[in-house]
């Protein structure tokens, strides 16, 4: 208090590294951009979700009616359940496979490693529509997968995979695993190189085997990478739209419907933009909560 009274007009009281109001000027462009294109649309969506609106004519205020409908909507419940199943395929499996491959790579040098790394990462670079088309062909009734099954004497397993009530969702899940595990692996392989080689030497001197070494050295060392991989792939799983839209469009029945697909149907086919906005808000909330939980687990002070 005292020092403030003595301050001169030109603010000489600031320490050199102290934050000053001018800092806001520096972040202003980014902040404006963020408000305009990120926060704005989010708030807009929340606002729309409080109306009954066909997207064209006048809106009618309905308060939280869209949300109470959503809570009782069995299709939406199914959609979120399918998303939960897809998280296994889009996040849990790719991270596991990625870790396994990384563990193998740290033990043995593989010839042509760069080639494999590039090839396995490639699905990340292909547009979702192209991936969906390619896999539709793989899963086709007369497609390569079924022909292969017939060839090896498993003809009884042959089925139109994407048109099958039981198998359509897992089939889409496998596409997701294929797309994301390369990303996880590249993240992990890069991470492993940061782990001091001494730790591995020490583990080996102590007589640790491959499994022990993985859990004692590699996994703890990759903690941040695993966290990033989980957050990215889980978000990927939850917002999955292009692959579903271009393979099954939610069918057969509603067996592959996911929140984003259902949101699309409501907004663009059923003329129910208000309800679609409510679904979008719930989906964003779900993504936000899941990501927050994961980051919280990840931020836990390391127990050494």
């Amino acid at each position: 208090m005292v020092s403030r009274r003595r301050r001169g007009k030109r603010g000489r009281g600031h320490a050199p590294g102290d934050p000053r109001n001018i800092g806001w000027l520096y972040v202003l462009p980014g902040l404006l951009f963020y408000l305009l294109f990120t926060l704005g649309p989010l708030l807009h969506t929340v606002y729309y979700s409080l109306f009954s609106w066909d997207g064209l004519t006048a809106k009618t205020w309905v308060g939280l009616a869209n949300y109470s409908e959503a809570v009782h909507d069995s299709v939406l419940r199914a959609a979120f359940l399918h998303s939960a199943i897809l998280i296994v395929f889009y996040a849990v499996l790719p991270v596991s496979v990625g870790l396994l491959l990384t563990a193998a790579l740290t033990r043995t040098a593989i010839r042509g490693f760069r080639f494999f790394r590039t090839t396995l990462f490639l699905p990340q670079l292909i547009a979702g529509v192209v991936i969906a088309q390619a896999w539709s062909w793989v899963y086709d009734a007369q497609g390569p997968l079924n022909r292969f099954l017939q060839l090896v004497g498993l003809g009884s397993l042959v089925r139109p995979w994407l048109g099958d009530f039981t198998w359509a969702l897992p089939s889409i899940g496998v596409i997701g695993t294929w797309v994301t595990f390369g990303l996880c692996m590249v993240l992990f392989v890069a991470g492993v190189q940061k782990i001091p080689i001494e730790l591995y030497d020490a583990a080996r001197v102590d007589g640790a085997g491959a499994v022990r070494e993985f859990f004692a050295v590699t996994l703890p060392g990759l903690r941040n990478e695993v966290l990033v991989a989980f957050v990215l792939t889980t978000i990927n799983a939850l917002r999955n739209f292009d692959i579903i839209y271009n393979t099954t469009a939610g069918g057969p029945g509603n067996t592959t419907i996911v929140p984003s697909m259902y949101m699309y149907q409501n907004a663009f086919l059923f003329n129910r933009v208000g309800y679609a906005a409510a679904i979008a808000t719930l989906l964003a909330l779900a993504i936000f909560i899941l990501a927050a939980i994961m980051l919280r687990i990840g931020d836990r002070p390391e127990d050494r």
Partner: protein, 443 residues
């Protein structure tokens, strides 16, 4: 803490991008360019006709450019309302009859009533008076089948049976003496199932997009329910119901066809036009679908080897099937060239050049006065399949017109029914529930 905040901010940003829906439209317009949107590009359907007619139109109207854009059905009806509202959308576009699209366009005043042009070009005699119902709406978009005319269509459409004459003969049936009753038709299906190898379906079916069974069901439905009852249900005439004994009986028959193994097992994974193509290559003894695909079938099997007829009538003797006119053409309320747009519509729908080109593509002009060329017996069969039903007042319209979500509901319910995961009663109730939910918003 700061890092966590940054992380959370990042997550919020990603979540927003994930769910944000932003669609932008528009192409810069020169002063005399008219943009038309159409989904009539089924392999190849009307696309070459529209392109040729537009080129003709440009020639007779120097300085006018017709920019005709083809999109698939779902992406067109999904985007056209917002495109029209933006003011940079098409000048003339196809919509779709029914509550999902046309009702919206009328209600939001995105298209204009065609009353003025109906008088100017004498369109009122183009179609039968009852046919005009599918273009009539009250200005609030709530009452279907009455009010001014808002649209116009190019071709007549009907779901018919295409049969492979050679296969029928091989099964000991006479393809020139087809059953004339529904019961006789079902008997023939059973014979075919018994005689064909088990790997070959009786009916090659493609339901990947979800409308295969919506179309196919019309023939069975029409055999046990009066066509006017179905139309009234589509028009939301008060008191109409879907879950009637007649409809449930028909759904039971459809499920029985599935259980009897009449369809290829991969129907949910095969596209509609793809299945027509497979039938044309010799798969299955029949294909039941839209007559607009008749070119695909002719190209594969050869005209002489194909028979065409609607599913024959039930006890009432009235021929009926799913059908109506093709997508409704509208004029944007925001276009500067409404008169020119109407002139183009008049040319592509009523000119003799247009009719010749349509017949040339195996499409049936909606104009009642059009006669197929006598030199083409296959086309005459297809045309007869349409007029037989249309003249008997038996067009059932398209069931999905009945509510914005009806297409998705029917798509799901037919898949469940055919997979044995719902009963005919269960399906009828689910469909009626969709109808009733939407019906409430109309009163």
């Amino acid at each position: 803490m700061k890092r966590r905040l940054a992380g959370l901010t990042f997550i919020v940003a990603v979540a927003l991008v994930a769910v944000g829906v932003g669609v932008s439209f528009g192409a810069k317009k020169q002063t005399t360019t008219l943009t038309m949107w159409s989904y009539d590009n089924q392999d190849p359907g009307l696309e070459p006709v529209l392109k040729q007619l537009s080129a003709d139109f440009e020639k007779s109207h120097p300085g006018v450019t017709i920019n005709i854009v083809f999109k698939d059905f779902n992406s067109l009806v999904g985007t056209v309302p917002r495109a029209l509202a933006s003011g940079t959308g098409p000048d003339v576009t196809e919509g779709n009859e029914g509550y999902q699209t046309d009702a919206q366009l009328v209600k939001a005043k995105l298209i204009i009533p065609l009353t003025k042009y109906v008088a100017k070009y004498h369109w009122s005699t183009l179609y039968a008076p009852s046919t005009w119902g599918m273009f009539r709406w009250t200005a609030d978009g709530k009452s279907f089948g009455k009010g001014p005319i808002w649209g116009l269509a190019q071709t007549g459409q009907n779901v018919v049976v295409f049969y492979n004459k050679k296969k029928l003969t091989q099964a000991g049936l006479n393809p020139n003496k087809m059953p004339q009753t529904y019961a006789g038709f079902e008997k023939m299906l059973a014979t075919l199932r018994a005689k064909l190898p088990s790997s070959d379906p009786v009916i090659e079916e493609g339901n990947k997009e979800g409308y295969g069974f919506i179309h196919l069901f019309g023939g069975i439905w029409g055999a046990s329910v009066k066509p006017s009852v179905v139309r009234n249900w589509v028009y939301h005439v008060p008191g109409s119901r879907y879950d009637t004994p007649g409809t449930i009986a028909a759904l039971t028959r459809l499920q029985a066809w599935g259980k009897a193994g009449y369809f290829n097992s991969d129907y949910n994974a095969v596209g509609y036009d793809t299945s027509a193509g497979l039938f044309a290559k010799g798969k299955g003894a029949m294909w039941i679908g839209g007559d607009w695909d008749s070119t695909i079938i002719k190209t594969g099997l050869g005209a002489a080897n194909i028979g065409v007829m609607p599913v024959p009538p039930g006890p009432s003797g009235q021929w009926a099937s799913i059908g109506g006119l093709s997508g409704s053409w509208h004029i944007s309320a925001k276009t500067k060239y409404a008169d020119l747009g109407a002139e183009w519509l008049n040319y592509v729908i009523t000119s003799s050049r247009a009719k010749t080109l349509m017949f040339g593509q195996q499409q049936l002009p909606a104009d009642r006065s059009a006669q197929p060329p006598t030199s083409d017996p296959y086309l005459t069969q297809v045309d007869k399949g349409f007029t037989r039903v249309a003249n008997a007042d038996g067009l059932l319209l398209y069931t999905d017109w009945a509510s914005p979500s009806m297409y998705t509901t029917l798509q799901n319910q037919y898949q469940l029914l055919l997979a044995g995961r719902t009963t005919p009663q269960g399906m009828a109730q689910a469909v009626q529930a969709d109808w009733a939910k939407f019906d409430k918003t109309l009163h």
